[in-house]
């Protein structure tokens, strides 16, 4: 059996706020150094796991935050699993915070992006980057995308979710800029994402219900015509798993058939839109048996929709070696591990396949 080729579509690098200061205009420094600004968090509970947010073994021995050490990331992820390309999805996103003070937060995103390039992308060839933006400032976000798109290793725009639905026309400048530069838009929940009935009493409830946030975003993008307006756009929903996808397809198709006159700009059935323009990062994979997983993929109507993601270094990390069940077909595994991501991320470089076949980017 040939070695599986791997693209990891969800790797969370981490940084201390103070590390961003060299990249942040001086006018903003005192809010970090003197006034104690930190990103707000709304959940009433912590992650009740061995290491909190992160794997307990991902904390560098010399100190620092999990996900902050490039040598440890190489050791525990890239080298351990033979990952050829990994896409950084970040930590700090103003989009996941409350609206307000966009001047500071948009500048902070620029600093984060410059740090990402200097600390990660320029130091490790296997790492590719995402533009972090302040979605509450869509015009500023679009400018940041234009600026960062010049870097050849930027492949994605990240939209973290607080409680906003990104289909609203307010956010369309972000999708326009992403489409213009061939950047995938990655949508990722945050600790501030709100499920349908709020945060509930326990973390276990909230973490179970996160898939609602992704369904909300997909529905919002579809019915607000984002995919019709930006037909070359690709969106990947990251860290919501994918077992909800058939439900999402069936239910949105049904509503579209019955209520389409309310959204006449939606010209294609939602399930078709999803198959053509939406992808799903695999983690946290819902630990199905092989027959269950094959049935689910059959219900999705496409083998092209799922892309491997580990979520390193977070506590619910999926090992690429263990995530798929025993007996899962090798050809389908190769699609999930490699081909689907390569077909989705247009700016990932073309790669010469092991059999000498050129795989299109």
């Amino acid at each position: 059996m040939s070695r599986q080729r791997l693209i990891d579509t969800d790797v969370h690098e981490r940084v201390e706020l103070e590390q961003l200061l060299p990249h942040l205009p001086a006018i903003w420094h005192k809010y970090v150094t003197d006034y104690g600004w930190t990103p707000e968090r709304f959940n009433p509970y912590s992650q009740p796991t061995a290491g909190g947010l992160a794997r307990a073994d991902a904390v560098p021995e010399g100190g620092g935050l999990a996900g902050s050490s490039l040598p440890l990331l190489r050791e525990q992820l890239l080298d351990e699993y033979g990952i050829e390309q990994a896409i950084l999805t970040g930590w700090l996103s103003a989009s996941a915070l409350q609206e307000g003070w966009s001047e500071f937060k948009t500048a902070l995103m620029s600093a984060y992006n410059d740090h990402q390039v200097a600390h990660w992308l320029d130091r490790e060839e296997r790492l590719y980057g995402s533009v972090q933006v302040n979605a509450w400032d869509p015009e500023g976000a679009a400018r940041e995308i234009e600026r960062m798109a010049a870097h050849p290793k930027i492949v994605q725009v990240m939209l973290y979710v607080g409680d906003q639905a990104y289909g609203s026309p307010r956010y369309h400048p972000i999708f326009a800029a992403a489409e213009r530069h061939g950047l995938v838009v990655g949508i990722h929940h945050s600790e501030n994402s709100t499920p349908a009935l709020g945060r509930h009493r326990y973390y276990a409830e909230w973490h179970t219900l996160i898939s609602q946030v992704f369904m909300s975003q997909a529905v919002s993008l579809i019915f607000n015509g984002v995919f019709e307006k930006f037909p070359a756009l690709k969106v990947i929903l990251i860290e919501g798993g994918f077992s909800y996808v058939p439900h999402l397809m069936w239910r949105s198709d049904q509503q579209w058939r019955e209520l389409r006159h309310e959204v006449p700009w939606v010209k294609r059935a939602p399930s078709r839109i999803i198959r053509e323009q939406v992808r799903f990062a695999s983690q946290p994979i819902e630990e199905l048996t092989t027959p269950q997983l094959l049935s689910l993929i059959d219900q999705m109507g496409s083998e092209e929709l799922i892309c491997l993601s580990s979520d390193y270094p977070h506590w619910d990390f999926d090992s690429p070696f263990e995530a798929l069940p025993p007996g899962f077909p090798e050809d389908l595994k190769q699609k999930i591990f490699w081909e689907n991501a390569l077909a989705t991320y247009a700016r990932l470089p073309a790669v010469v396949g092991e059999a000498g076949t050129r795989v299109p980017a």
């Binding site: 289909g167 026309p169 015509g225 058939r257 019955e258 389409r260 006159h261 006449p264 700009w265 059935a269």
Partner: protein, 123 residues
């Protein structure tokens, strides 16, 4: 008035009772039919049964179509009659009988003609 023959059933109604942009139900033999006069004045008749769950379309609405290209844009499509199912709202182009969301799904057409001031439907 309904009249069965050896091979076909026929029914009719006064032509003056169905103006442009109107539809009505008619039973032909034992078959329920929806008769439509488009805003252009053309007559159409279909089995009075939604392809979805069999609702009587004649109890729904016949209205101009709605189109739009950009989010938030609503435009009446004058001249396009749309039959809207009374239950779940499936929409059909009155002239073709095709569902607006999928032209492969269409109503079963029934013969209709206007003769001597009567709309005559044959099944």
């Amino acid at each position: 008035m309904s009249q069965a023959t050896a091979t076909r059933a026929r029914a009719s109604l006064p032509a003056a009772e169905l103006g442009p942009g109107e539809m009505t139900g008619l039973v032909v033999g034992e078959v329920a039919v929806v008769v439509v006069r488009t805003t252009e004045g053309e007559l159409r008749a279909y089995r009075d049964r939604c392809v979805h769950q069999g609702a009587p379309l004649s109890r729904g609405r016949l209205r101009a179509g709605t189109e739009g290209e950009e989010v938030g844009e609503y435009r009446l499509v004058e001249g396009q009659g749309v039959i809207k199912c009374p239950w779940h709202g499936y929409e059909y182009d009155a002239a073709s009988g095709c569902a607006l969301f999928d032209s492969r799904r269409r109503l079963r057409r029934v013969t209709v003609e206007e003769l001597d001031g009567e709309i005559v439907v044959s099944v």
